[in-house]
Symmetry: C2
Amino acid sequence: MGASKTEHFTDEQNAIATLSKALGHPARVAIMEYLIKVDTCICGDIVNKLPLAQPTVSQHLKELKNAGLIKGSIEGNAICYCIDEKELTKLQSYFANISDKLEKKKSNCC
Amino acid sequence: MGASKTEHFTDEQNAIATLSKALGHPARVAIMEYLIKVDTCICGDIVNKLPLAQPTVSQHLKELKNAGLIKGSIEGNAICYCIDEKELTKLQSYFANISDKLEKKKSNCC
DNA sequence: TAATTATATTGCAATATTACGATAAAGATT
DNA sequence: AATCTTTATCGTAATATTGCAATATAATTA
């Protein structure tokens, strides 16, 4: 059908999937990396850095914002975007936890 | 147009996006978690665990395999899937690195 | 070798994503 | 107030994803 059956999975599984999906496009990875690198983070700078049209970048920013990975604040005429660390930390600790489990298991299945 | 302009981004950005995208569906997150939890990992078990039809699960397994996150080996009649740690480690260290950078920066932008 | 079991593939419908031109909205500047 | 600058939204086309029934493939067993 095209729509995920999210209701059948745990909240954590859905949360991790949502965050991962938000980073599932190179432009959005590039935006995150840019925001981490610079401290000034005006939307127009991001548009200039990326090889995409302004509406497309705006859409990608919206998706990152919806996922909670970035936040934006009005800066006069412009909008200042920056990383929202909370969700990123969630992802980071999730993967750290998984790696830890695998490390301990020393899986020899396949 | 609908197709990502992957050629404009770095290899690492594309790699992280591909891995993230593969985990961008709760069913695939659930599959990964199941494979981490159990040591026996026959495809049929996964199908039974998930609230999805067999062809759908097969498709999700294929995507995880294409991304390099799991590998499968023929086990007589059945197929044994398990985690391929290499790519997962790549993701884990990527996020660890990002978190580290943010930690050091103590960003006070927004 | 026929039937069974396990998994993959095909085909298709429903929906989502990606991209961008045109345009709107809102503050800044003249 | 008219214009400029900056960002968001709308509309739309191209493509991708999700899901499953039907079917194919391949090893196993009777």
